[in-house]
Symmetry: C3
Subunit: 193 residues, 3 copies
């Protein structure tokens, strides 16, 4: 099989059901989700299987879900059903709650880093947020309602935050607080419970 087709050499490419320039905001969005998937794959290689099997399993599940996201964004075919389900968002929330309980509370921003895997998960956190910004731009441009992908990416960056903290905590590497940080983390207002 030839992997390359040369059909994109002049700047256009295929969606699921359409053809656009490669700098289309839609392509930008799922291209960034693809980039994020690379960092998730990288993080997995930096985690030891015996100490972090739970997080490795999460991350691999997330890799599949990112493909679901990518496909949903790549599609402009009305008949096609979205692959990403709302349950994935609930599942992330459960994991976030669980891991939050396992780690000490914080009041201030913390420096990303500590261990290799934690640093990479922090990078993934920020690339997820970059992808989220592009989805927002896409939704605005198309005047479309925010899809599950948007909710998912929002929660995903919070998942990465707690997972990055948990990794360091289990490795006995304390979080370093941003020295000039005010107390920025607080109990969630009732309205958000």
């Amino acid at each position: 099989m030839k992997i390359y087709t040369r059909t994109g050499d002049k700047g256009k490419t295929s969606l699921i059901g359409g053809r656009v320039f490669k700098d289309d905001i839609r392509v930008e969005a799922y291209g960034t989700i693809d980039e994020l998937n690379g960092f998730v794959g990288k993080a997995i290689t930096e985690l030891s299987k015996d100490q972090f099997s739970d997080i490795i399993d999460d991350l691999e599940k997330i890799q599949h879900e990112l493909f679901d996201c990518g496909g949903d964004i790549a599609s402009v075919v009305k008949e096609r059903k979205n692959k990403l389900t709302e349950e994935t968002v609930n599942y992330l929330e459960e994991k976030i709650d669980k891991y939050s309980e396992e780690t000490p509370e914080i009041e201030r921003f913390i420096l990303p880093g500590g261990s290799k895997a934690s640093a990479t998960i922090h990078i993934a956190r920020t690339v997820a947020r970059r992808a989220e910004r592009l989805i927002v731009a896409l939704m605005k441009e198309e005047n479309a309602p925010p899809p599950t992908v948007l909710q998912y990416l929002n929660r995903l960056s919070d998942y990465f935050f707690v997972a990055a903290r948990l990794v360091n905590f289990r490795l006995n590497i304390p979080d370093v607080e941003y020295i000039r940080s005010a107390k920025v983390f607080h109990l969630t207002p009732d309205s958000n419970k």
Copy 2:
């Protein structure tokens, strides 16, 4: 020698033959090629010399070619000849064909990851595609014909894909397929041979 000149502290910078704001799409494009070059450099450090000398050689060759690309994009001087040649594209195609034959065929998308080097090459793949999108935007803005750089980057991301797969294959790490993937890879239509 002082590396810093302070001349860019107010937001403008030099092209080869011009001066523009730093957020110029042209600067964005070669700045992203520079970023890509960093990930290629990183990948090299993650490959063992005895098992992967061929890929290491490729990647170092690519690093030089990315500087060729960067220079070509940075130049607005008519008299300057482009450095990137069409042969580099042919060379990449040969390598892609060779490495494709060495690895098992696939029908479905695969998760980026497996080994550190493979994961980093996948990241490079997605950053090459980010750079490609910016070149497309640049070409559209200038109403200019697609340059060799565009072809090169398009092929480069396919090269990274097969190289990432080859690395894992040699390390006996099987590709993990995206579980909800349809059969997306198929024989290239004749027209593309």
Copy 3:
């Protein structure tokens, strides 16, 4: 404490003193500074404490300063004083001069890479430049004078360049020059001293 609030699920988010869409150029800018911070954290984990305590200290100092930058960019509150000071720029310049003296002079571009930490610092260099481009875009959009953050990021990428070189130099890994490079580095013109 619940880390997620669900308030951003429809695409809007909070600044320090305002509410905007997540694809706002301001959010893009400090989101990219956050991404940069991740790579700095990663680089630290790749440096051995006995050989590189000076650079590790620099990088941790820089992580705090990047939070200062992020806060300054995130704020649209007139009463709030900027956190990033001009002294941080001077400090970087001193470090750049010091490290430049410690490493051999170069005349040509060099390939990013050599060691893991050096490669990652090169990536940080390019992400700092991506952040710089966004700050320029923000300043233009708001018709505002360039802030210290802009100067700081400009100097920071030069700092990363010399630090990346120093790391390889101490590890006895020679810089590889870009083979088709002209002599691009030269003594700084007097006007810039």
